[in-house]
Symmetry: C2
Subunit: 433 residues, 2 copies
């Protein structure tokens, strides 16, 4: 018997039929002898619909009011799921983020969880009640309710699992696990039976959208056993875990056993791609000591993280340098504005900004000890005629910015080049690696 936190995403609770399917699944988990706590997102497109309402009366909706508005979405899904469970004869009760003890800071729209005080959830579980917790939301000590930003329901689930000391946190979604690449782009993509948290971090930070990066960070910090699986299928899903699975989890008959890791472990675990990138180029910078540092300082002052390392192209005849940065779209606009304000001081000629680029990343724990990976990557891309604008690297990741028109091709090339292609085309429509 285990304590399992299950999170169901918006598409899994999009209508009454799916709510009832989720309810039956929860009952099955309970009948197998486990305790459960359930985290749900807002139904289907509710969040986007509420956002449209806000834009109907407000050009820039104020963050506090937007959070008051958006938190309505999970009230609806949690109460309906609790009703569906009661209809099946189960004792169930819905809890808002605040009621579940999700204490956050006051950064409306993108709040951080400061502390989880899950006493009401623990009381409910002890009393045999299935708690249904609103994902994506919490409350500041003083004032209103807050939201955790995109993907926040994953974060709620993992933080709650950590606070409850849950055995497993299951992220139940519309795909049956994390894949070596987005199966819509790479038909030969394979489901990954197991990943390290560091691999999952790099994948989620650079394109994979099945899981939210922040939730992986919390899982890693608090040693939460994370599992991504289908809301409705019976597949084993993907375990995100840094150590071999505990024997009791594997032997537990009601928890599907993860497959053995492939005997011949690939150096690269997955290939992700994202089109949410813009390339910002600072053109004609005087080649004077300190100028590069000053430009970097302006950019890092304007955006939270410079996701992609910049590259320089010198133009020998003029003594001027160009700097290029790849950043998520909104950040690129913000960085460009900050640079424009400082143009006189920095002395550059002009800025160019294009979103006609995408980013492909390869991620794998095996890259740590395999220095020839980058050579292999460039060879594969150049053989296939892919232009590389920029390159960035971490210990277990290598990212390249390529023209948008070549993004999906480059993804398939690298998937094949690093031996990830399955013998057969995947039958499950996954969303991202």
């Amino acid at each position: 018997m285990a304590l399992i936190v299950q999170k169901y995403g918006g598409s899994s609770v999009a209508d009454s039929d799916r709510l009832q399917m989720v309810a039956r699944r929860i009952v099955a988990t309970r009948e197998a002898g486990h305790d459960v706590a359930i985290v749900v997102s807002a139904m289907g497109d509710t969040t986007d619909e509420l956002l449209q309402l806000a834009l109907g009366v407000s050009t820039v909706p104020p963050a506090r009011e937007l959070d008051m508005l958006l938190t309505a979405g999970e009230r609806i899904s949690t109460s309906l799921l609790a009703m569906a469970l009661q209809e099946l004869g189960q004792d169930a009760a819905s809890f808002t983020g605040v009621q579940a003890g999700m204490r956050t800071d006051e950064a409306f729209g993108d709040a951080r969880i400061l502390e989880v005080q899950p006493s009401r959830i623990e009381t409910a579980i002890a009393a045999g009640t299935i708690p249904i917790i609103a994902g994506f939301q919490g409350g500041s000590a003083d004032d209103g309710e807050t939201t955790l930003g995109r993907g926040g329901s994953d974060t709620t689930a993992v933080a709650l699992a950590a606070a409850l000391g849950a055995d497993i946190c299951e992220i139940c979604t519309d795909v049956d696990g994390l894949y070596t690449a987005d199966p819509r782009v790479v038909p030969h993509a394979r489901r990954l039976p197991q990943l390290t948290t560091e691999e999952a971090l790099e994948l989620t930070a650079h394109g994979a959208r099945v899981l939210h990066r922040r939730s992986v960070e919390i899982a890693r910090r608090h040693d939460v056993t994370l599992r991504v699986r289908s809301s409705f299928g019976d597949g084993a899903g993907t375990w995100v875990i840094d150590h071999p699975l505990a024997a009791e989890l594997i032997s537990e008959p009601t928890i599907a056993t993860p497959e053995e890791a492939p005997v011949e472990q690939s150096i690269v675990s997955g290939v992700t791609h994202t089109d949410d990138q813009s390339m910002l180029t600072v053109v004609g910078v005087p080649d004077v000591p300190g100028t590069a540092a000053a430009i970097f300082a302006v950019i890092t002052g304007a955006v939270a993280t410079v996701d992609m390392v910049g590259q320089t192209h010198t133009s020998a005849d003029t003594g001027l340098i160009d700097f290029s940065f790849a950043l998520p779209g909104e950040d690129a606009t913000r960085a460009a504005k900050a640079l424009q304000r400082e143009q006189e001081r920095l002395g550059f000629r002009t800025l160019t900004l294009t979103d006609d680029v995408g980013k492909v990343s390869i991620v794998g724990d095996g890259m740590r000890s395999t220095p020839q990976v980058s050579a292999q990557l460039f060879e594969a891309l150049s053989e296939e005629g892919v232009t590389v604008h920029l390159i960035a690297q971490s210990e277990i990741r290598l990212s390249v910015v390529v023209p948008m028109a070549q993004l999906e091709h480059a993804t398939r090339v690298l998937h094949r080049a690093f031996g990830l292609d399955a013998a057969e085309v995947a039958t499950v429509a996954g969303v991202a690696a």
Copy 2:
């Protein structure tokens, strides 16, 4: 300068255009120098739509979960109205019922307000922020949020006005006041410039739906000056108040002055009708002492209030009596079930239940000192061929149950008979007297 609580109903905030109109109206009230606190209902049909969602997963939605669900409605309307006000450059903030200090009991779905602790609302007003408060909802000390039942937003507004010591509580709605009868049924109905709280209580308890009965009770108990007016028009509306209007309200140029009361005050102030009635007849009751009392005890044990007094028809040849009761539809079904369970003990033959009846009531403070009113009523109805099934009376009200087919006709007959017909047909479509 006054402190005005304004309540806007669901149809007044049904879409973004109306939200913006309401916002401009609030700004106008502020610019006239008044402090305001705003109470809003859920937008348009939101509450009914949420209820439909609940019925999609639950045959009998559990009350606690239903309240969690329904309270989402006012989160949406309050936050959007706060956004619309900020868009106009005003400082505004939304508050849930709990945040506004509406402490209720735990009767989910039909909670009573125990106490209002409006410190956060007072702080907001003092800081120049326009507080937008979710109507219809509150919270119990221990657990979740509750709803106040039908018409609860009026109750929220009046209770808040009492707690804040507001000068006026304005119920802003889609009609421009309370009428002598429903203008859809009685084309010659007139708007009432002023009513006593007791008259308003009788009208709202017996068919008038513009205002909720419980809100009038609270206004009466706490001496809140109540005014019903159009959300968008500039009419004076209807004042519900037991004393002459205070001079400062009348002289206040930005508060429309109520017209003078008609010189020749009519005995009857208004005629209401309602089709939400069923007639329950207990057929063949032995004429034995105590039986009537036993039947009454069973009925009053099953329903909150026996709205309409029963009548008996003796059947001389058998020594058996029939008792008839008029009750709101749901109550009648509940009372019938309770009687059926006790049929053996009570010894009656059978029950008949029909909803093919309606109730017409005349209400007026002048009836207190005019005993001939009932004779006048029966004469008018019999002249026009209206059958009277049952009759009930209070000091300032006289109600009759008539066949459904004669309900609207009877309403028009009484409106004319008691001198309420206006010279001209009302141009505003009102909803109820």
